[in-house]
């Protein structure tokens, strides 16, 4: 479903990576490894359609993503390494705004339930600026519960999370894969995605 051919990325005069080919089908995951600066985030942004590769193209359901941006973004959930929350709004308002700008109508009850599942029931009416980094991260991951998307692209989803939260998120990821979803992620700790889910590890090396 998600495929990429001959992707290369150039930053300044440096080639971060080139000739990356990948093919990911329903229920499969791709785990990007590599040192800092190896181009993991750049590759994720190219896969999400946020930046263009220097060469090559990304295909979603056999068509280039540039030709079907709206459809592709409907199927995509991307969570970058920035918080992605407005500091002055509460978690509920943040999620409500994000979902509505995606063209979805989500009830407050659904948001409350998603936040409860992420362990944030008591924090839902606090402005995001008073929350810890881990709580913000969990709040953002609650989007995954609100928005049906086939492909999840997550940049460091376990960052700043405590052990319990990591276990929760891993359960969430496993359930997503079990229901036929696709997952692309980077992480500095090896995620446990279950033995049944087939996946790949892509190792990016820092250009010398």
């Amino acid at each position: 479903m998600l495929a990429a051919s001959n992707l290369s990325c150039i930053r300044g005069t440096q080639t971060l990576f080139n000739d990356i080919n990948l093919q990911l089908d329903a229920g499969q995951w791709l785990y990007l490894q590599g040192e800092n600066g190896a181009g993991k985030t750049s590759l994720l942004r190219i896969l999400a359609g946020l930046s263009l590769p220097a060469e090559g193209e990304v295909l979603w359901q056999n068509a280039p993503i540039a030709q079907q941006r709206s459809q592709y973004h409907q199927d995509l959930l991307y969570i970058g390494h920035q918080a992605g929350l407005k500091e002055d709004l509460t978690l509920t308002e943040n999620l409500q705004a994000l979902c509505r700008m995606d063209g979805l109508r989500i009830s407050d009850a659904a948001i409350r339930e998603a936040l409860t599942r992420m362990g944030l029931a008591k924090r839902q009416h606090l402005p995001a600026r008073v929350l810890s980094a881990g709580q913000k991260r969990r709040g953002l991951l609650a989007r995954a519960l609100l928005r049906p998307a086939k492909l999840w692209i997550l940049d460091e989803p376990f960052n700043a999370l405590d052990i319990n939260a990591i276990a929760d998120v891993q359960r969430l990821l496993k359930a997503h894969l079990a229901s036929g979803g696709l997952l692309v992620l980077t992480s500095h700790q090896t995620p446990d995605l279950g033995i049944d889910a087939p996946g790949f590890i892509l190792n990016l090396s820092v250009p010398r």
């Binding site: 359609g49 946020l50 973004h73 409907q74 918080a83 992605g84 929350l85 700008m101 109508r105």
Partner: protein, 224 residues
Amino acid sequence: MPVLAAYFAALQRDLLLVMRRKTEVLTALFFFVIVTTLLPLGIGPEPDLLRKIAPGAMWIAALLATLLGLQRLFAADHADGTLEQMVLSPEPLSVLVAGKITAHWLVCGLPLVLLAPVIGLQFDLPADAIGILMLSLLIGTPLLSLLGAIGAALTLGARGSALLVSLLVMPLYIPTLIFGAGAVESYIAGLGASGHFSLLGALLILAAAFAPWATTAALRISLE
């Protein structure tokens, strides 16, 4: 209509953010009030002279007040990653951008229109000229927001973007300034303002059609 819902979502979100942090908006409004209040004090009580410079002075103050907060239009969303999420929305980015521009006008442009009658009294403008001034601001300030959004998007992420955006947008504002202030001046001179209004209106329609689209293209480049 999901597209309309997305437009209002972006609009409502930005208005809510302004309500939470009022000082940023009030800065621009205070600037407008202070400049237009100090001017008559500095020039002295000569009603004829004040009446003559009133339209130009108020339009320049409105223009500078708009420029003041322009750079933050996308910079804040860029810094916290919410702009990325807007780009990834299934709804067209230009619709969300149009919502943000509308919010910017409601917050930075409309209050200037509403303040104009009070400020106009300080310049001893007659009531009917104040009406013309308000109308010219009502057509002209959305134009300032629309054109400014293009500049804000182009300079996003650049160093010294506050200065850059002024340099970039100022030349685009000149026609608005000339026709906006000119409408009031020619009305006071007894020539009628309909020609100026037609041109301002034409500019507004053109900008409303193309500015969100151009802003979107600029944002995509800046986010690369």
